[in-house]
Amino acid sequence: MAAKVAWRSLAILIGGLFVYAGVVKVIDPVAFARDIDNYKILPWQPSVWLAFYLPWLEILSGLALITRVLFRGAVFIVTGLMIVFVVTSIVAKARGLDVSCGCFGHASQYLNFTWHLVLDVLLLGGLLLLWKRPARAP
């Protein structure tokens, strides 16, 4: 029982984080496009398209984690997003780019690279735990 509660709490926590991360970016997609562009990986136009699309994908995936509707698909997408983000952050750092990820809107600028990585590793750890449990289990 305690394990089930912990598992559901974890899903709700991670889901809530992604809903929050999506909402703060939906409010100002141009600012998020600039954050994507700062990584110097994509041209400007695809950065703008992604800036409109990714926040909604985060919101819907977060809601799916909270409600358990399309749960496994959401865990898959969120894990993928996290892996892409960690890799691009490390690559950006290796290229000497001092970028704010913009993951949590303006709150992101107060987190340095190390803290971002710590947060990401924790989130990935949490997602691995969600993978282990079947969606209908609790």
Partner: protein, 141 residues
Amino acid sequence: MKALFRQSAVLVALALLPAAVEALYLRDKVPWNARVAESDFVDVETARSWGANVTWIDARPADEFERGHIPGAVSLNEDGWNEGLAKFLGNEWLPEKKIVVYCSAATCNLAEDVARRLRKEAKLPNEIRILKGGWEAWQQK
């Protein structure tokens, strides 16, 4: 496994709809073609030709400013923005002068960020431009 991909595909497709609606709603407010409009830039020759009618703002970190900067430039960057802006407005700002902001090179974004904040947050009425090529271009000319 099949369900996993099906669920993912549903989420990926569903997200397209609100994204498209938002993009349509904001279509006139988004710089679709370039991060900064070409008209927001000024090249070194033109900015120099403005002579004393320019306030130069160095958006690079303070240590880079200390190592060298455009004569007469003011250091104003996003580290300690509020204090720096208050100091600039109190001591250096003149409403009739053009403002040219620069950072290290064409690839940096600091000048763009400072120029945007001067327009949107400080709401300065001045003509505010970004120096094309930054400090690197200035040194080469």
